[in-house]
């Protein structure tokens, strides 16, 4: 069914609608519900931060958008075009438009190829330019990420972890994409190196008018790079808002728990953390999703309804969406967590 597909407004780049990705397990009829109904929109030039703890489904969401996995259900629209089919059926021209940078710069670069050869692969695949033009483009890409041009003759193991990640970024930009998915691009790096990479990413985003889907488990980082933030828990988005709004007014108990668990380095930062909620319980497995709200076993504010009925996403203020019974109508209780 492709009926009822609304046209995206002109500045819309990507829209994900009720996306689901289930993986089979050894037990028949039992699935890993890795992504379980995710919806969001990404405008041109935006940086959407997708935050959540390990196993919440961030990477699976990314891979499904990239076409590595075919969705179990739901739709992915890119520039108004349905790209929900897997990579095999995606036109080459579209593959050029969406690129990814992975977490581990150690394993994502082929160790037996030089940096120049690595950067040449996407150019060759997409038949960009002549041989000589490609050579020029490789030098240009290295300059773009401020690496010395003679790096093209080096092998990945001969350069540092931060520099390898710069190469991975250059490779993602080789085809002039409009959307770049960043899957924890700095989680494996020290903070002093992370700072440099993040700076570069944000500079490129401004200068090349890129749109980022920025995946991370680090809310402090998102505070500084994202225009909007979506918080994921157990395959679903539980809260989404503009960055200033989310940090000033976190409403979902899970967002509050995440924020209050972050170790910070100053009193000023401490003052921005919600103090009311303390981390308890374990992160459940997406094979055994609790009934009702997935977060209810860990939620100090849970009511009887929370274990019975799944809350729907509601817009509680303009552009601020929360999936929580406490913030909706029709549930007994004070309906307020502030």
């Amino acid at each position: 069914m492709r009926l009822g597909v609304k046209r995206l407004p002109d500045d819309g780049l990507l829209e994900v609608r009720d996306l689901k990705k289930y993986f089979p397990t050894k037990r028949k009829g039992v699935f890993v519900r890795a992504v379980d109904g995710v919806s969001f929109r990404l405008k041109r030039g935006e940086v959407l931060g997708l935050v959540g703890e390990s196993g919440s489904g961030k990477s699976t969401t990314a891979y499904t958008i990239l076409g590595v996995y075919e969705p179990t259900a739901g739709q992915i629209l890119f520039k108004g075009q349905d790209i929900s089919t897997g990579l095999a059926r995606r036109p080459l021209a579209l593959k050029k438009e969406i690129q990814i940078v992975f977490q581990d710069p150690g394993t994502s670069l082929n160790p037996s190829r030089t940096i120049g050869q690595i950067l040449g692969v996407p150019l060759a695949v997409h038949r960009i330019g002549t041989r000589a033009e490609r050579q020029q483009r490789i030098a240009e890409l290295l300059r773009l990420v401020e690496l010395p041009v003679d790096f093209m003759y080096k092998y990945p193991r001969a350069i540092g972890g931060g520099e390898r990640q710069m190469v991975a970024i250059a490779r993602a930009l080789a085809t002039n994409p409009s959307l770049v998915v960043l899957d924890e691009p700095t989680s494996a790096l020290d903070v002093s190196v992370q700072a440099k990479i993040i700076n570069m990413l944000m500079k490129l985003q401004r200068e090349l008018h890129l749109t980022y889907l920025f995946i991370s488990h680090d809310l402090s980082l998102m505070r500084n790079v994202a225009t909007r933030v979506a918080v994921m828990y157990l395959g679903k988005i539980c809260e989404e808002a503009s960055t200033p709004e989310l940090f000033a007014n976190p409403l979902h108990p899970y967002t509050q728990m995440l924020l209050s668990s972050i170790p910070v380095v100053s009193k000023a930062e401490e003052a921005t953390k919600p103090k009311r909620i303390r981390s308890t319980g374990e992160i459940p497995s997406p094979v055994d999703v609790p009934p009702g709200c997935g977060f209810h076993p860990r939620c100090p504010f849970r009511t009887e309804a929370c274990s019975r009925e799944e809350p729907a996403m509601r817009e509680v203020e303009e552009g601020h969406f929360v999936r929580c019974h406490l913030l909706g109508a029709g549930v007994p209780g004070d309906g307020q967590i502030h």
Binding site: S192, V193, L221, R223, R278, S279
Partner: protein, 329 residues
């Protein structure tokens, strides 16, 4: 040595023999821990944090050499200990918790068997029934749910956070003077890290155990410790009471590190610290941070700075604080 001092490391130098040369990793480390004190060692990958604490426990790898230095624990030099003394040091003196709880636990034994083994090692004279009781009590103290059942579980049946709590329970199942935790939460999610850190703090405070906590994260050190050592390329570059360090950081490396951290208050991300950690086969003479330091002076690349006193026990290994200040080490 003062009575309240538990650990006193002086001028500890550790090298690793490798094919084709020598890695001069620890370059005269000084560190001291008082009884009941919680001390943090903060630094980035490869700066020598694990090497330092392995030296304290005398569990350095075979290719390590210790050409210089002393490590006093309760008034005795660990580097001179042998046989029984070492067994006592590890069985009763110091407990250790590692970064990876999966590697620390043996997959083929139950949690109960493993905790009882540790207790047996510490108190060889006891009875099996007592060991069991102590093991269950340790799990209870670590606020682990259903300790009796947990005793019969195998490590693979537990989540990462649970496993680390079991390791902590195990480390503190018998009385210890010092707990060394080497990045105990690096692999854990932030909400689970919070639980594990609160557990460590509660247990060491209740038992009066001293703590050395190793971490990459200045934030973790700030929330957990009384005293922080900032380590760079095998040297302690700054040490201060935790509040003082965060109110008044002095060493250019500490400043660079603090500025590199993305803040919850926003404000963007800085440039980080240019360059990389030096090659230990050929470390720079003088201050090891000098090649990356934007405030370096000629002397910095010639002579190694001592830890200069910046007042109130705050010490900085930086030539900029030599004038007027007094070298304390």
């Amino acid at each position: 040595m003062e009575d309240s001092t538990l650990v006193e490391i002086k001028n500890l130098t550790v090298w690793y023999r490798v094919y084709g040369g020598l890695l001069r990793v620890l370059d005269g480390v000084n560190l001291s821990v008082a009884r009941g004190q919680k001390v943090g060692i903060v630094g980035e990958t490869g700066c020598g944090k694990t090497t330092t604490v392995k030296a304290i426990l005398r569990i350095l790898p075979k290719n390590a050499v210790v050409p210089e230095g002393t490590i006093m624990f309760q008034g005795r030099n660990v580097l001179k200990m042998r046989g029984r003394e070492l067994q006592e040091l590890r069985g009763q003196g110091i407990a250790m918790v590692f970064q990876d709880p999966t590697a620390a636990l043996n997959p083929v034994f139950t949690i109960g068997q493993q905790i009882m083994e540790v207790i047996k090692y510490a108190r060889p004279g006891g009875k099996a029934k007592e060991w069991r009781e102590m093991a269950v009590r340790a799990l209870k103290e670590a606020a682990l749910p259903d300790p009796e059942r947990l005793m019969e579980n195998y490590p693979f049946q537990l989540s990462g956070g649970m496993r680390q709590r079991v390791c902590i329970a195990m480390a503190l199942a018998t009385a210890r003077t010092l707990l060394i935790a080497d990045e105990p939460t690096t692999n854990l999610d932030v909400t689970i890290q919070d639980q594990v850190l609160r557990l460590v703090r509660r247990l060491v405070e209740e038992k009066g155990t001293s703590l050395i906590l190793i971490t990459h994260s200045l934030g973790v050190a700030r929330e957990m410790t009384d005293l922080v050592y900032v380590m760079y390329a095998g040297t302690m570059v700054e040490v201060a009471q935790t509040d003082e360090l965060f109110d008044n950081p002095l060493h250019p490396y500490t400043l660079g590190l603090l500025q590199s951290i993305p803040k919850l208050t926003g404000g963007g991300v800085t440039q980080g610290i240019a360059g990389r950690i030096p090659d230990y086969a050929n470390p720079p003479p003088g201050c090891r941070f000098a090649p990356r330091c934007d405030q370096a002076m000629p002397i910095c690349s010639e002579r190694k700075p001592a830890l200069f006193d910046a007042g109130g026990g705050h010490q900085v290994a930086c030539w900029r604080f030599a004038a007027g200040g007094e070298a304390v080490a």
